[in-house]
Amino acid sequence: MRNIHRLVVAVVFILHLVGLSGCKLKTAQNNTAQHKNIAVVISTLNNPWFVVLAETAAEKARELGYRATIFDSQNNSAKEAEHFDNIIAMGYNAILFNPTDADGSVLNVKRAKLAGIPTFCMDREINSKDAAVTQLLSDNFTGCVKLGQYFVRQMNKTGNYVEILGLVGDNNTWNRSNGFHSVVDEFPDIKMVAQQSADFDRNKAMEVMETILQAKPNIDAVFCGNDAMAMGAYQAILAAGKTGKIKVFGFDGAEDAMQGIADRKITATVMQFPVLMAQTSAIMADAYIKGERDFPSRTPIEVELVTFENVRQYLPQN
């Protein structure tokens, strides 16, 4: 009787173990299939352009079967570091990253790498060849070489202009500026009379342009590092009653700037493709998680010059 009792206990115990291991197996399978997380860390959600970048990346990650969470760094590198602390602690599987600072953000990416979390930079670059798995970047320099050539022709190779820069710690700011200057500086009769940063911010650009217009009345053009600043500069020009006299050039391909070109308020911009960039980043992260390891350190994405002559094809209704 005692032996039968022992046997029953043993069988129940074994069945219990099998049941438990079965549960564990099932949980592990669930983790593989459903519980992978991708973090989308964005420099700022104050600019609609970055909202598109963030939401598209998250949407594509979800479409590929991941949980995606968007983190807003508010253009603050301390905030960005906090996000990385949390992402590393929570064991995310990949980071789609739009950095706040080309140098300052490298450490965050390296910390993630050390924790085994791959990072894929989007749109903004970090100064490292190997910290991120890859960096998908608009070819800002080439875009501004195209814009610079159009600018020179629009100015008939002569005149005074203002440059409003983006964030000075961001490589995009300098790649755009360098591309533009690599062309325009060759024409000695085109003179830059003021250069100031407005941090890619529309309101700041408006204030900067207002101040410059008071100090320098003879301005023929303004080149802005993004469309938000171009729209801000245009508002200042409008308030000063100088529309039509000062040509405004931007960069990004934002919807209001496109409409501005169609309405002859903005002279030209350069169209970037944030949707393509964000989707490709998510696809690359998915490939990495599934075992792919062969990625170029950078993937530049071509940009296109938009002027009054070709704006129709870029307007949202078309």
Binding site: A102, N127, G179, P296
Partner: protein
Amino acid sequence: MKRLPKISIGILLGLILVYLSIDVQKLDHYKAKNQPKAFNAEHYAAKVWKEEIPEILANAPDITELIRNLESRKEHTLTKYGHKLGISKTCYFTVKGNARVVSIDEENLQLQLEDGRKVLLATSFIFGNAIRDGLGVVSVDDFLNMTDFNNVSIALNNRVKTQVIPDIKKSVKVGDQVVFAGALALNETTPDLQNIRLIPLTLSVTHGKQ
């Protein structure tokens, strides 16, 4: 009292040891010493110019042959001779050829190729990445950032402006027969073969106008 000299010597030796084991430097100097050397695009471009370009041009396709192949077997020709950067519709090529100069203006020479087609050869507005990317040997993966990579384009274009263009402007006349090599960009979806504009890498007059 007798132990005093020994103690003094001991303290002195200790101080010397501490002094020798510490290296005090100004933070700025230390940082500067440990910074990776700044990339010099002019040196890089000079090396490419001297060591890479001659061989690339020796193996470059003839421009008339390239155009003919682009018309008949576009995809194959793009893959065989073209170079692309990242996700892009622009394809860059390095080519060579023979032609006759049919006109000269402020920005270009107009050349008539051996098969009668006409192309432009730039003598002004030398910008962009046609040379850097057309050569096919400058990889973005070799650079710390896009700024350094882009500076290579500027440096290569500057060499064209300072070492190639002045000779062209000085020596070439309408009617001259020339041998040339250069780089060009084409849209891979709809290559505009009627409006090709080359950035020159070499040009020499073989038969001057009589």
